[in-house]
């Protein structure tokens, strides 16, 4: 029997779909882009390093950077700001995204197409472009100020850009599709007979929405919230462009520590705190989603 070359056998295994082989490329990518950098991050965060000519010449184990960061008021302020911003963004995206997804659920084919196009189209353009559009809209001579002045409601342009509110507006707009799409995916799977049964039993549209559709949509809300929170909490571009030079969030802080201060250990510690707090909030979201889907899971059994 002739043995086939190793490469061909590997390709055969991959294409056969058996065992772990189909997942090998993804595992390799994950190890390269996630596990190795995470290891480097941990090693830098928990050590004092000396760099010369771009090369680490000494590295000693130390908790100094972590303990200093945890006690630093600037970290407290910055992380509180980032957390508030991300949670507020998640709240507004849920509030605005749910009605859109509901409209998709009850709308006809044309309404559905329009909603899909309006939701997906912004994702096809760069986040930087969309953020710059907000500068044009919210700026001193932007559409909002020009309209308010035109109607005589204000005499001087309002300062909207370079404030927390500008960042929030930009974040909600940028991340809204990320909330709508999982909601649409989950709500489209609803058994429409449940709504018909609810209507036949005399429930109003609002009662059906509250007691049938909303509880069944919790998995979509949970997924959307987790995605929006993660992206908002770790975002870099929107605060950079809409927050102005004295708006500091956690991701911007990491960037500045690594790029401008060239303090890798500090940047690594900040990134670790960012990741740990993000995971903690995601666990809370997962727990809330679990609680919220208790009855529907029982009913579906």
């Amino acid at each position: 029997m002739t043995r086939r070359p190793l490469l061909l056998r590997l390709v055969d295994e991959l294409l056969s779909g058996r065992g772990i082989w189909p997942a090998v490329p993804a595992i390799v990518v994950l190890v390269v882009v996630a596990v190795i950098p995470f290891g480097v991050l941990l090693s830098l965060g928990f050590s004092d390093i000396v760099v010369s000519r771009g090369v680490i010449v000494s590295q000693e184990l130390s908790l100094r950077h972590l303990t200093t960061a945890l006690a630093d008021p600037l970290y407290h302020t910055t992380f509180r700001r980032s957390l508030t911003l991300a949670l507020t963004t998640t709240f507004f995206c849920s509030l605005l995204g749910f009605p859109v997804a509901y409209l998709f659920l009850i709308g006809g084919p044309w309404v559905r197409r329009i909603i899909l196009v309006l939701t997906i189209a912004p994702i096809l353009t760069s986040g930087i472009v969309r953020t710059y559009a907000w500068i044009v809209i919210l700026g001193g001579r932007g559409v909002v100020n020009a309209t308010l002045m035109e109607f005589g409601l204000i005499s001087q342009p309002l300062r909207i850009i370079n404030t927390h509110w500008a960042v929030l507006i930009g974040m909600v707009q940028i991340h809204l599709p990320i909330m709508i799409l999982p909601l649409i995916a989950v709500m489209s799977r609803h058994d429409s007979r449940l709504e018909e049964a609810s209507a036949n039993l005399g429930a109003s549209r609002l009662a059906t929405l509250r007691t049938i559709i909303l509880p069944l949509s919790v998995p979509g809300l949970g997924t959307g919230a987790a995605l929006v929170f993660t992206l908002s909490y770790t975002t870099f571009v929107v605060p950079q462009l809409l927050g102005g030079g004295n708006y500091l969030n956690a991701a911007t802080m990491v960037y500045e520590q690594v790029v401008y201060s060239l303090e890798w250990s500090k940047g690594a510690v900040t990134a670790m705190i960012l990741m740990a707090t993000c995971l903690a909030v995601l666990l809370v979201f997962a727990w809330l989603t679990h609680i919220g889907t208790r009855w529907t899971r029982v009913a579906q059994r």
Binding site: N162, G244, V259
Partner: protein
């Protein structure tokens, strides 16, 4: 024993060619990658690149815009293997780059035109490069919002400018200079950056993340005036914006020389020296001095165009009082100054 078939041989050959092709192509093409301005100010660099390409067919220049600090961080992250060959760099960035060990000094013997450089400028290269131009730091203002611009740096603290002032973050050379200027304007040494930051805090400025974003804030009317590079202001004025530029004193007029510096381990050592030499010819210097950027020239005997007087020191008094910041005392603390800035402004 396994026999080597023609198929195996061809496969191995094709693989080797595929792996080595980028290296071979790069070697033949000889592309020089430099950090430039990323805007119209790159014109004199592009011109010099064209001259070099004509002399050496196959040689090309790619200019990548961005802050020098970002390039230094990239080189540090890539463990000293710089993706760039050389850069235009101001004094503070050179000091930071030397601290990180990412630069190699230029050999002035290979830059014959360096002998024509005005002796006031080479000290700002800290032995690393050749000064090719200088930029002024003054106050750019919106003529509609600020009818009477400041004449000295201390004038910025007059009540008439309150609520209209902008500032660049200190990670940029401009922002770093502003912190030092605020200290010097009130009789403190440049290096007293805590005092400088505290003075800026009094003004409650609107802060731009970098000079370009600060300039955009000025153009949109969100601020009325701010410290800015003269060349950026010149370009904005040339595009028809209602801006003006004040060459302020006390200290000043303030300038920052710009050098050509070479990153360690570049493969294009001789070409970089030749590029620097082209930039120091009278033709290149005269080209750089033209509107809209009006670069200050570093070679002796170059006559600046009439329009340059609005941006750069022109009278004998101004030229005599032309200064820069005490960079060796300020630049090494850039990281600490940025952190102190955040504690004061964003905390």
């Amino acid at each position: 024993m396994t026999t080597l078939s023609r198929r195996h041989f061809l496969g191995a050959a094709a693989g080797s060619v595929a792996l080595s092709a980028p290296t071979v192509l790069r070697a033949q093409a000889r592309e020089l990658v430099m950090i430039g301005y990323g805007s119209a100010q790159d014109d004199p660099l592009k011109r010099a690149g064209d001259i070099l390409a004509k002399k050496y067919p196959g040689v090309s220049l790619r200019i990548i815009g961005g802050l020098s600090a970002e390039a230094i961080a990239q080189i540090k992250a890539s463990r000293g293997a710089s993706p760039y060959d050389f850069a235009v760099m101001g004094s503070p960035a050179i000091i930071n780059a030397v601290d990180e060990g990412v630069l190699e000094p230029l050999d002035l013997a290979k830059v014959p035109n360096a002998k024509n450089i005005d002796p006031r400028f080479p000290p700002y290269a800290y032995g690393m490069g050749v000064p090719i131009s200088y930029a002024g730091i003054g106050i750019a203002y919106n003529k509609q919002m600020v009818p009477n611009p400041p004449k000295t740096w201390a004038d910025l603290w007059k009540p008439e400018y309150a609520g209209k002032i902008g500032l660049s973050r200190p990670q940029s050379n401009l922002g770093l200079a502003c912190v030092a200027i605020a200290a010097a304007a009130f009789g403190r040494p440049d290096s007293d950056t805590d005092f400088g930051l505290a003075k800026w805090k009094e003004l409650k400025p609107l802060v731009g993340r970098n000079p370009n974003l600060l300039q955009q804030m000025l153009e949109r009317g969100e601020i009325g005036l701010c410290p800015l590079w003269h060349d950026n202001t010149g370009i904005a004025i040339a595009s028809g914006l209602p801006l003006g530029y004040a060459k302020v004193t006390g200290p000043g007029p303030l300038i920052l020389p710009t050098m050509i510096v070479k990153f360690a381990r570049t493969a294009h050592n001789d070409l970089i020296h030749e590029f620097a030499d082209i930039l120091l010819t009278n033709e290149s210097q005269t080209f750089a001095a033209q509107p809209p950027y009006y670069f200050g020239t570093t070679v002796k005997g170059i006559v600046a165009p009439a329009g340059a007087a609005a941006f750069l020191p022109s009278t004998p008094e101004e030229i005599a009082s032309m200064v820069s910041v005490d960079w060796p005392k300020v630049a090494p603390n850039r990281g600490k100054i940025v952190e102190a800035f955040d504690r004061m402004f964003a905390g």
